[in-house]
Homo-oligomer: 96 residues x 5
């Protein structure tokens, strides 16, 4: 799973009806402390009603379809959790 920041949203013309019902948010992976954004942005199906600015946990690949909402849909990334607290090397580095 990746620690990511929700940075935006998308509106699109999607053919698959099951994907249409979900929010597709733009995410960007961060470092372990949730501070610095790294890598390229990607789009994930939101399962936890998160919003822009939230630090979230995303899962990728076939794992993204192990939920009732995304099962058998063309989805390869989901936001599975809103992060409340990150601890690195014994120090709290993020608190919501």
């Amino acid at each position: 799973m990746k620690i990511s920041r929700v940075i935006g949203s998308t509106i699109s013309t999607i053919k698959s009806p099951r994907v249409m019902e979900t929010k597709l948010l733009i995410c960007r992976e961060t470092d372990a402390t949730g501070t610095e954004e790294i890598g390229t942005s990607y789009v994930a199906t939101d399962l936890v009603d998160s919003g822009v600015g939230d630090l979230v946990l995303t899962c990728h690949g076939s794992a993204a379809r192990q939920t009732t909402i995304t099962k058998e849909t063309p989805v390869d990334a989901v936001i599975m959790a809103v992060l409340d607290h990150l601890e690195v090397d014994g120090e709290v580095v993020f608190r919501k």
Copy 2:
């Protein structure tokens, strides 16, 4: 899913009859605003009748086969949506 720009098309000799019936387009991932092309290009099966220049959403891996057209075909990337609107940090960064 990746935000990508359709940049071209391919013609090829394919053995699998189900893949032959589909358009295979060349795509290139962009940044979150759909402006800058990044990374290497890749080829995706077009499911939404998109064309060169369109900003699209592509999904990858086994997710690409969760549609009636690509089911059980040797396809690892599909164009699943044409993007109409992208918003990053509260600003509209792309409108079709």
Copy 3:
């Protein structure tokens, strides 16, 4: 599988009840000797009761769901083993 160091932990609001019961730890891949941390950090489900500082073996993708705990859950990385001993080119480079 990746040789990784456990560097931290996460607390989050997760909808899926099966994932909630597990520890989600922050890991970072190391080189073959377990010395230098490389690449970006990621979050993995802990299956072996490991802790911060442990050198572990993680597996990724659908492999991460080949266990009774993670089966059919939205999990794409698990800590499957605590490393006791690494040998590279005939030399012991790590001993727990």
Copy 4:
């Protein structure tokens, strides 16, 4: 899918009888015009009787096993097509 150039071949001692019957070729991804080789080389099962120098389309991951030849075999990349024609931004950039 990736646009790749076939650059070589392998001979190896393979235990799995179904993989033994196939040609395993060395490929290298190219840019969208098929001109410049990029990234690291990889080995793919040839399904279309291609040869060294051919520009091909390869698919990866579980997609590579969606054919009668590779089904249920330890194969993660196949050459699924020989490319005849590539067009980028309205210009023909490759013709076989």
Copy 5:
């Protein structure tokens, strides 16, 4: 599949009994000639009784579980063959 060099071995405390019965070796991808090691090292289940120094072919992802030994185990990379011979651009670049 990747052309890789076996560079070391691991001993670890693994919970899954089926994975415990197998050798887990440290591999590093090489270039197409098997000469230069590139990228980060990874750990693969050995299916072909290879040893440190051998040039091997590894397969990754769900492909790694398409064998009787690794089926339904948390394994994402296997050594599927010992390479005997590599030919690039018509030249023999490796012979065992």
